[in-house]
């Protein structure tokens, strides 16, 4: 397993950013959270047992950094996430609707949804990363699905 930070950034950077953006809904804050996660990895003396262990550790640290970032009591010259979304090139119009619907979910639901659908984590693994009970994760996932189903035509029942 590589310990080279650049390689790790190349491999996981965008994925960590997507998770952080899901929480912050703000590009600069999300990038700061990713940087914080990678810097903490650089400082860390944790012995990672596997690539999965490293990845889960990185997500936990980055998600926590993102939460701190978006709750920080300081000002930034922020742009709304809608403006940022205008600059993105979506493959299908429905992709934008989906992202918008997800970003409008309550904060505590968003990251659960993201780790489940984007990263493919199981509810038990999400509970470990977010330091929640598995039941809490399942409830949040269930509620999120209901909201997304109501908002998105193409969202299927699961």
């Amino acid at each position: 397993m590589t310990t080279d930070l650049k390689e790790i950034c190349r491999k996981y950077g965008d994925r960590l950013y997507a998770a952080a953006f899901n929480i912050c809904r703000q590009r600069e804050d999300a990038e700061d959270a990713v940087q914080e996660g990678l810097i903490r990895l650089y400082r860390s003396e944790t012995e990672f047992e596997s690539e999965e262990h490293l990845k889960a550790w990185l997500f936990r640290v980055t998600v926590n950094a993102a939460k701190s970032m978006c709750r920080s009591f300081w000002n930034r010259n922020r742009t709304s996430y809608e403006e940022y979304m205008d600059s993105l090139i979506f493959e299908e119009p429905s992709d934008r609707s989906l992202m918008d619907a997800v970003l409008r979910l309550p904060e505590k639901y968003r990251i659960v949804v993201h780790l489940y659908y984007y990263e493919g984590y199981k509810t038990r693994e999400i509970a470990d990363i977010l330091e929640l009970s598995e039941n809490t994760v399942k409830t949040r996932l269930l509620n999120s699905r209901k909201i997304l189903k109501a908002k998105l035509e193409g969202w299927e029942n699961e």
Binding site: D32, V34, N75, Y117, G120
Partner: protein, 238 residues
């Protein structure tokens, strides 16, 4: 992979780090290496904070900008306004700043630095930061309403928030010069970014909140005009 998963991935695959992210990471790493080499007492985690603060100061163009928050020592007792009451709180050092848990189990964190004349970051004392914390106000969501609290006063500001998620309020407090509060990106779940100023932002319209009954406890804030203060606070989600 089911349809929802496939479409979710396709949607969020449009998100990418900025092109200069690697460069900025490399620069930060170089700073870290330098700091390690020098074995200095510089506060590692605060480089980004200081950078953000500098950006804020430039954006606002005001020397007297104050950012509400807090920090402390290894374990320090400070008096903080919490949920409308002056409360003695024991704060623990946590690397970036300080944290504590209130009686409801809600976790709080805060930290901050000042920047001296030579551009060096200097950790604020717990007392200094408690003072900054106590001159700030916060918004919390409850039962679908947004409540703003300042010292011992509380206001329902749900209907005052602008469509773009901004709010500007002023609370006349003779003990605090930084009473022009700006909030950005307020969401129904109560997250936001905020700042306080010692004068109205040019062009901004402030809603005057009734300060009748405001606590007169404590001394007036006497922060030097040229002090560049940057602080942050965090509140747990669960």
């Amino acid at each position: 992979m089911n349809k929802n998963e496939k479409e979710y991935k396709r949607s969020f695959n449009t998100l990418h780090l900025s092109e200069d992210f690697s460069e900025r990471l490399e620069a930060r790493l170089n700073d870290e290496r330098e700091e390690n080499k020098m074995n200095s007492n510089t506060l590692h985690g605060f480089s980004r904070i200081a950078a953000a603060i500098t950006a804020c100061a430039v954006t606002l163009g005001v020397g007297g900008v104050c950012y509400a928050a807090d920090l402390g020592g290894i374990r320090t007792r400070v008096e903080l306004w919490m949920n409308g009451e002056k409360t003695e709180v024991e704060v623990d050092e946590d690397g970036m700043g300080y944290s504590w848990t209130d009686e409801d189990g809600e976790e709080y964190g805060f930290g901050g630095v000042t920047v001296d004349e030579d551009g060096n970051e200097v950790a604020m004392t717990a007392e200094e930061l408690a003072e900054v914390w106590n001159t700030g106000c916060e918004i919390k969501a409850s039962d679908g309403r947004l409540n703003l609290s300042y010292k011992n006063l509380s206001y329902d500001v749900t209907d005052m928030v602008n469509e773009d998620g901004t709010l500007r309020v002023h609370i006349a407090d003779p003990l605090n010069p930084y009473t022009y509060f700006g909030f950005e990106n307020i969401t129904p779940d109560g997250s936001y970014g905020a700042y306080s100023l010692d004068q109205p932002e040019p062009g901004a319209e402030y809603i005057e909140l009734d300060a009748a009954g405001l606590s007169t406890e404590g001394e007036a804030v006497t922060r030097p005009d040229n002090e560049c203060v940057g602080t942050y606070t965090t509140i747990s989600e669960d």
